[in-house]
Amino acid sequence: MSRITYQQACLDALAEEMRRDPRVWALGEDLGRGGVFGQYRGLVAEFGPERIADTPISEATIMGAAVGAALVGTRPVVEMRFSDFALCAVDELVNQAAKARFMFGGQARVPMVIRQPIGMWRSSAAQHSQSLEGWYTHIPGLVVVTPATAADNKGLLKSAIRCDDPVVYMEHKDLWQVPDDVPDGPDHLVPLGKARIAQAGSDCTIVTWSRMLSVALQAAGALAKDGLEAEVIDLRTLWPWDRQAVLDSVARTGRLIVAQEAVVVSGFGAEVAATVAEELGPRLKAPIRRLGSPRAPIAYSPPLEDVLRVTADSIADTAKRLCASG
């Protein structure tokens, strides 16, 4: 175990996988100078500019070329810089990467990782702050991963790189500098599709992912002081997601809050809520609650940006109300 940052953890993960498998390479803008968040720092020295490739500002072709390179047997790790810019490459991701294996009847696979940092990062405004993870869960063929901790950003990135299908890998921009205890050595893998009970509890279930995990844990801490035990589940992977872990928990607690940073409307929280309603509906002790951003673009000005944030208080308040009713 070492205490390292989320940023260092994924750096280690990529370096280990590149050492292990010569077919793994990374491509994107400015990677040679370490990438825009330092998450490629120093890699070009070890692996050279062929395997840490600086590209033109050509998002569509970064994505499309990775599809081609994956089809012929390499394992590209694509850096999109901000998930917002990946919107310049949606055809290549959704119509090509996600569908090639199926459309071609299984003749080939598309083992690629698409890194798309998400989330609010002080005053990044409407085009540099979006959390669009829900979108990609809707697209057959894609795996969607949203690591919340340094340990997971190591273990999940390694699993993503080893996955034979395209993985949309969404780090959160506000987590890069957050440290965590991370298992040492190259064998720390976190399986895709397995949630983690970040805190056990019996009064209500809070399902969350990405940066919202720390907010949910804070809320759980506050609730504990009021004698309420919240169970906090970090989904880690949104597709496939760990339905069973969530259903088991909610079956025990009878109450569900889904907390996400993304816009609530048609966010992934809707899928979680709908699934729980379908499976457990009449057995719930209280109505389901979703928390997330109102449906408005993200403003630049700090106080306006903050209006959109889900806070520990809002989670705790919601939990208290749910636990009071029913």
């Binding site: 599809v67 081609g68 055809d91 090509q96 199926f102 299984g106």
Partner: protein, 328 residues
């Protein structure tokens, strides 16, 4: 014996003619089947453009690779795809190239380096570039030919892909099939400047601009370009002027152009031109008719087989989706 102009030997030209004839027969049969409702999806015929597919692919090894478009039957056949398997795909049957999952717009045959047709105009360009990028990283000496239409030169990936290939010195041959139409629109009406080759040159690529209906010329030009690819000279560009002799799809009567225009273009039909050339080289028309007849028979058989083949098992609707998270 050989044709002086392109120094092509008659046997090679005869083989080209045979392959072009096979493509022609395939397209005619596929269009007919589409009109009869036997092929349920759209069919985009490459009739009139066969010389390009054949002239290019004749210079590729089996393990070299190509990407193609919605209009990709010819390229597939020229690269070595079994027409019978492809016809089964058009019929949506088990044993089709993509197991019936893709249809005409998603033909692929990785066993012969055919990395896939594409339903999205210009989408094959970055994919081809990436395949070449992969070849370079793997050091396997393969080259990639990327087919696309003149209409595709107005989509962003055209610029991005060419620039990328040049920046990374990749072994890609870009082949533009400049057939004057983009669906029902005359490409020239929506395209500025001096054409695809001029655009390519501005991005630093060597570009040739030739009559794409002359298979010997295509063959000879591509031989040179592919040699340069293999020598590591970076991407090459080839614009092939041609004409789309049929409608955009089998369902398109192409009433937006005069019959007289089309008739005039039939005089420049690559099958006709190649036949005349072969005759000048001493091959009898009866021999050529035999080649055409063989193609027709082979395609008729493919068609009959396809029509008789079973549909894929319904469970295959959920296979080949993804390893984790596929529908149960």
């Amino acid at each position: 014996m050989s044709d002086a102009k392109h120094n092509i030997d008659v046997e090679r030209l005869r083989r080209h003619y045979a392959t072009m004839g096979l493509i022609r027969a395939f397209e005619d049969a596929a269009e007919q089947a589409a009109r009869e409702g036997k092929v349920t999806g759209a069919v985009h015929s490459s009739v009139g453009q066969e010389a390009i597919a054949v002239g290019v692919c004749a210079n590729l090894r089996q393990d070299d690779q190509i990407t193609t478009t919605h209009r990709g039957h010819g390229h597939s056949i020229a690269k070595g795809t079994d027409p019978a398997k492809m016809m089964r795909e058009l019929f949506g049957r088990a044993g089709g190239t993509s197991g019936g999952k893709g249809g005409s717009m998603h033909i692929a045959d990785f066993s012969v380096g055919m990395l896939g047709a594409n339903g999205v105009v210009a989408a094959g360009i970055p994919i081809a570039v990436g395949a070449a990028h992969g070849a370079k990283l793997l050091g396997n000496g393969r080259v990639v030919a990327c087919f696309f239409g003149d209409g595709a030169t107005n989509r962003g990936p055209f610029l991005e892909g060419l620039n990328w290939a040049k920046v990374f010195t990749l072994p890609v041959l870009f082949v533009c099939e400049d057939n004057a139409f983009a669906s029902t629109t005359r490409t020239k009406a929506v395209t500025a400047g001096d054409g695809p080759a001029a655009r390519a040159r501005a991005i630093g690529l060597h570009a040739a601009d030739i009559d794409g209906n002359d298979v010997a010329l295509v063959d000879a030009t591509v031989a040179e370009l592919v040699a340069r690819l293999r020598a590591g000279d970076g991407p090459m560009f080839l614009n092939c002027r041609t004409y789309r002799l049929r409608g955009h799809t089998a369902a398109d009567a192409a009433a937006y152009r005069d019959a007289s225009e089309v008739e005039a273009r039939w005089q420049h039909d690559p099958m006709k031109l190649t036949a005349e050339q072969l005759q000048r080289l001493g091959v009898a028309e009866s021999h050529l008719a035999g080649l055409r007849q063989a193609a027709t028979v082979r395609v008729a058989q493919a068609l009959a087989e396809a029509a008789a083949a079973p549909y894929p098992a319904r469970a295959t609707a959920f296979t080949d989706v993804q390893d984790v998270g596929a529908p149960a």
